[in-house]
């Protein structure tokens, strides 16, 4: 039943470009982008239990790496590879200092990573063109970008489903619930933490590259904005962090609200985000997907 439903929704999205307008397709593109970021965030945030507010930093490294390599004529294959490898390398490096922190401290320190990268992207004008923004050669890429992200979302969700039933996933959840006990059983938590962060960062970098590829113009203020930084976290939390479908449900809900807000008011989007955060934190800290289980 579940499988049929999943297959049907994937099929519907595959066929969508034949019936829908460009506007609907770009909406779906935005939805996939949000969902892919939330899903890859949640491996670290939901399963491993380390709230990584710096997921947007890896997204941004990917976006800028792709943009810089492509704009300088480095060729597409090199640009894609660099956009995946560089964020992964950055995640590997950041693991050493940051995983010495736990809980709230980890969250805030990773949040600083986004702020730091925004300054770097704004100040290293020679590389990123600063606040003026980086442009890559344009082309009509909406359909290929749409299918790339659709495939990525499907793969990520399958991977998350596998993770939730595997021994690896069990290890991550064990670290979330009691890291010291995991260590005491002779499993080194650091290897799991580092590995998960690296994979999650590589995916975020790939999503960033698709973003640059489709949008073709990026600025530090857009890529490293507050909204992009808290987005994946908020979405995973609202849907249900640490569940397979939670990030997808959250992404759908947020994109609908965002589209609704765009018609009503251009301002106060962050206020709405903030109020939603407070309400979710107060009343459904486990997210929508856990509501049903909890009521029993």
């Amino acid at each position: 039943m579940k499988l049929a439903l999943a297959a049907a929704s994937v099929l519907a999205f595959v066929l969508l470009p034949w019936v829908a307008t460009t506007y609907v397709i770009s909406l779906a593109f935005a939805l996939f982008l949000t969902a892919a970021l939330a899903q890859s965030y949640d491996w670290v945030g939901g399963h491993l239990g380390y709230m990584n507010l710096g997921h947007a930093a890896f997204f941004g490294i990917g976006a800028y790496t792709f943009g810089i390599v492509f704009a300088r004529g480095g060729g597409l294959p090199l640009a894609w590879a660099a956009a995946v490898l560089l964020p992964a390398a950055a995640a590997l490096l950041m693991s050493y200092p940051f995983f010495r922190l736990r809980g709230a401290y980890f969250a805030l320190a990773t949040f600083g990573l986004v702020a730091l990268l925004e300054r770097l992207a704004g100040n290293l004008v020679g590389l990123t063109r600063g606040s003026e923004g980086l442009t890559i050669p344009t082309g009509y890429r909406l359909y290929s970008a749409y299918y790339t992200l659709l495939a990525l979302c499907a793969i990520l969700t399958l991977a998350t489903w596998w993770l939730s039933r595997s021994r690896l996933g069990l290890a991550l959840v064990a670290i979330r619930e009691d890291e010291d006990a995991v260590g005491a059983y002779g499993v080194a938590p650091f290897r799991f933490k580092c590995g998960t962060l690296v994979v999650s960062a590589a995916v975020a970098g790939l999503v960033g590259a698709v973003y640059t590829w489709q949008i073709t113009y990026i600025t530090p203020g857009d890529i490293f904005s507050l909204e992009k930084a808290v987005g994946p976290v908020v979405i995973a939390m609202i849907g249900g962090s640490g569940t397979v479908l939670g990030p997808l449900v959250g992404a759908l809900l947020i994109e609908v609200i965002r589209e609704f807000l765009r018609f009503k008011t251009q301002y106060l989007a962050l206020t709405v985000y903030g109020i939603m955060l407070i309400l979710v934190g107060l009343f459904i800290p486990g997210g929508l997907m856990r509501l049903r289980r909890r009521s029993h």
């Binding site: 200092p97 969250a107 320190a109 730091l116 300054r119 507050l226 934190g281």
Partner: protein
């Protein structure tokens, strides 16, 4: 040489302002186990309150201090009662996540509403006192007076925590929450009071902040980040360590700002944070 001295004086004052906020954050985290992500935003709110009092009633920042402190104790108590205490988290991990979500939500809403409600959100006040000279050195009376008041507040806070019953209760809850409950300490009341005190300390820092530098709404979250660096630098719950950490950050910022430009100041805090985590993860004095 003279420039260096001026920079250091500026840095020490900035450090003192950071320290007040960092004390508050550290106390709140110690007692409630909540990392208040919105902490820097209460500094901004305190600064705007000072601006309002100055521009409408003509109150000097030092007079504003007397109004801002009690007002923000109340605001802190209300925020604790309405948004922190009713949290329905069930596991430790959920509690952590929920507390970050709630305080982050407060931060986003406060910053966005402040920026939305003002045509010109960058606000400063032109209050000044006649400077005086020591040898060839010009020293701003306003800055010196602020520094003196900050030191006075820190000493008062120290004695409050060491000698009064409420202060001892706060330290007991930080040390061992369950033990404090068993000893008959009303942990809920202590949590409420600590939140009020912590918020008030930050808002007072905002009074000093705006009398020296103009503020704008989006300074809040970066400020919280600086507080975090300071707490990690000085050791959690260690008041003298926090003060020293804050002064180190203030001075490095003022030196780096002079040589490379003020836009790098947040990078300084971040580099200090990483360096401390790599070299002395338990803080400078841990």
């Amino acid at each position: 040489m003279e420039v260096l001295l001026q920079l250091l004086i500026g840095g020490i004052l900035q450090g003192g302002i950071y320290a007040l906020g960092a004390f508050g954050l550290s106390l709140i985290f110690g007692v409630l186990r909540v990392l208040n992500v919105a902490h820097g935003d209460f500094l901004i709110l305190g600064a705007y309150a000072t601006f309002l009092l100055y521009s409408t009633l003509g109150l000097s920042p030092f007079a504003a201090l007397l109004l801002v402190f009690p007002a923000f104790v109340l605001i802190g108590i209300v925020v604790e009662r309405v948004m922190i205490r009713p949290m329905r988290a069930q596991t430790a991990h959920e509690f952590l996540v929920a507390s970050i979500l709630i305080t982050l939500g407060i931060a986003l809403a406060v910053e966005d509403l402040l920026a939305f409600s003002m045509v010109q959100p960058v606000k400063g006040i032109d209050y000044s006192l006649a400077p005086f000279r020591v040898g060839g050195l010009v020293i701003s009376t306003l800055r010196l007076l602020s520094l003196g008041l900050i030191l006075l507040l820190s000493v008062a806070l120290h004695f409050f925590l060491q000698s009064t019953l409420q202060g001892k209760a706060i330290r007991a809850v930080i040390e061992d929450r369950e033990g404090a409950m068993l000893a008959g300490i009303n942990v809920l009341a202590v949590s409420r009071n600590t939140f009020g005190l912590g918020i008030a300390l930050t808002s007072v820092a905002g009074v000093f902040f705006i009398s020296i530098i103009p503020v704008e709404p989006h300074m809040g979250l970066p400020l919280t980040l600086k507080y975090l660096s300071i707490i990690v630098l000085g050791g959690i719950g260690n008041l003298p360590g926090t003060l020293l950490g804050a002064v180190i950050l203030g001075c490095s910022e003022s030196l780096v700002g002079f040589w490379w430009g003020a836009e790098w100041s947040l990078t300084v805090a971040f580099v200090i944070l990483i360096a401390i985590l790599l070299l002395r993860p338990k803080g400078l004095f841990g």
